[in-house]
């Protein structure tokens, strides 16, 4: 008898807690960004921000050490790769300077906006989101620095992602490698347009909608297309084509892009003060 009553009490607590979770879940899901729960969440993040910053200052050297141990081999090969790329970049810069002047002129003629001319706010990445499922990072600027949901985040190397939530002191950035991310892109030389999706983890980005007849050389640069109502302004570098295959009978090519930004070890980013037109 006693055992029966006890297990009933157990189940009652379980059901109560589960129902509470589901209620909160439903309310938050339906509120979608502007409900009362979202403001609770924003306040919690702001309240926790100073504590977290202090802890980060203590912890980051230790974490740096941990990463050095686990990635020593990577670092060596990366160093060699960077030297090679630096040489290439020096050569590219010379070629690029002339092309850039020419392109600026063309853009002005057509009245297109270009990411290089947009105002931006620098920010530091304070942490990866404490989750294994979403690829997001938290940055140390929020609505106090005029940031808003939807703004693109870049580094000098290219596109990082876009802001998905903002509190006073912090913002969350959805990385372009997250499976829910879609970026409208253009192949730099052929001008063909497609959509680069996230594939999670450290996977390259699959690029959809490129016709099988288009020649796509390996290493071809990919930039944001900035089409009307797009999520990003035009001409932000996204990455380079890693491989392009077309299976017989397929309607589109099987293309993968390596992001130009090292999204695993982000430190400083710039938020472009630009929101997509509704």
């Amino acid at each position: 008898m006693a055992v029966y009553r006890k297990s009933r009490r157990h189940r009652f607590v379980l059901v109560l807690l589960a129902l509470t979770s589901i209620t909160v879940l439903t309310l938050d899901y339906r509120g979608a960004g502007d409900g009362a729960l979202e403001s609770v969440r924003r306040s919690a993040r702001d309240a926790f921000a100073p504590v977290q910053s202090a802890a980060d200052r203590v912890v980051s050297p230790v974490a740096g050490f941990f990463n050095t141990i686990t990635h020593y081999g990577d670092l060596k090969s990366e160093n060699a790769k960077l030297r090679r790329q630096l040489d290439e970049a020096r050569a590219d810069a010379i070629r690029g300077a002339d092309a850039d002047r020419e392109r600026q002129g063309l853009l002005e003629l057509q009245g297109l906006d270009y990411a290089g001319g947009l105002a931006s706010v620098p920010a530091r990445v304070v942490s990866n989101a404490p989750t294994n499922f979403q690829l997001t990072v938290t940055i140390d600027r929020g609505s106090d620095a005029k940031l808003a949901v939807g703004m693109p985040v870049v580094t000098n190397a290219g596109l990082v992602g876009r802001i998905t939530s903002v509190s006073k002191l912090r913002s969350t950035v959805l990385l372009i490698t997250d499976p829910s991310s879609n970026v409208g892109v253009r192949l730099a030389t052929s001008g063909e347009q497609g959509v680069a999706k996230g594939a999670g983890g450290r996977q390259p980005l699959p690029l959809d909608l490129i016709d099988t007849t288009v020649p796509v050389p390996e290493g071809e640069p990919v930039v944001t297309s900035g089409l009307e109502k797009g999520l990003f302004p035009a001409q932000i570098p996204v990455g380079r084509v890693r491989s392009a295959k077309s299976a017989p009978g397929a309607l589109q090519q099987d293309i993968e892009i390596d992001p130009s930004v090292d999204l695993v070890s982000l430190e400083f980013v710039r938020v472009l003060l630009w929101t997509p037109s509704p």
């Binding site: 509470t20 979770s21 938050d28 969440r41 802890a55 990866n128 294994n132 499922f133 979403q134 996977q203």
Partner: protein, 169 residues
């Protein structure tokens, strides 16, 4: 003056949150970090049975949900079930060999990550990817390693309740 034992639980939860967001979020293996907040639910179930496991899971889940991009309450729901399940299956395993809580935690955390991905994908979050296998395995192993620490922490935070009713109900 003695510390108020009722403060232990909130202090422990905040310390765990700090550990998760500042320390563990940077220590990633194959891009995956340990899930200490989930581990608290498991440790609650191991040390104090289904009710405490479920309650602790609910609290730690709700807390971490505040800092996640997913809908509020998702972790709370999953952690509640995990804490309850571990409590039902394993009340009293602490008295057995040391490796039993470790293995229990590893298995429960793998199950927890999969349940999280399942419920998440019902809500339209793309979580059922190939990466889930890596996540579940890495979290299982790292959480197993951290399990003794979590068990110590949780039994300290529940220590205040020891004098009254027996812990494992």
């Amino acid at each position: 003056m003695r510390e108020d034992p009722r403060l232990r639980m909130p202090v422990m939860l905040l310390a765990a949150l700090l550990l998760q967001t500042s320390v563990l979020a940077r220590m990633r293996i194959f891009g995956v970090m340990p899930d200490f907040m989930l581990l608290l639910a498991v440790a609650g179930g191991i040390t104090a049975g289904p009710i405490r496991g479920a309650t602790l899971g609910f609290a730690s889940g709700m807390l971490i949900d505040l800092f996640l991009p997913t809908p509020l309450g998702l972790s709370a729901l999953v952690f509640t079930f995990v804490g309850y399940g571990v409590g039902v299956a394993n009340t009293g395993v602490l008295r057995s060999a040391w490796y039993i809580p470790v293995l229990t935690a590893a298995a429960a955390c793998i199950a927890g990550e999969i349940l999280y991905a399942l419920i998440g994908s019902v809500l339209g979050e793309p979580m059922l990817t190939a990466h889930l296998v890596t996540i579940a395995l890495v979290v299982g192993v790292t959480n197993g390693v951290l399990a003794p620490v979590a068990v110590k922490l949780v039994s300290w935070s529940l220590g205040s309740l020891k004098s009254g009713a027996p812990l494992a109900s």
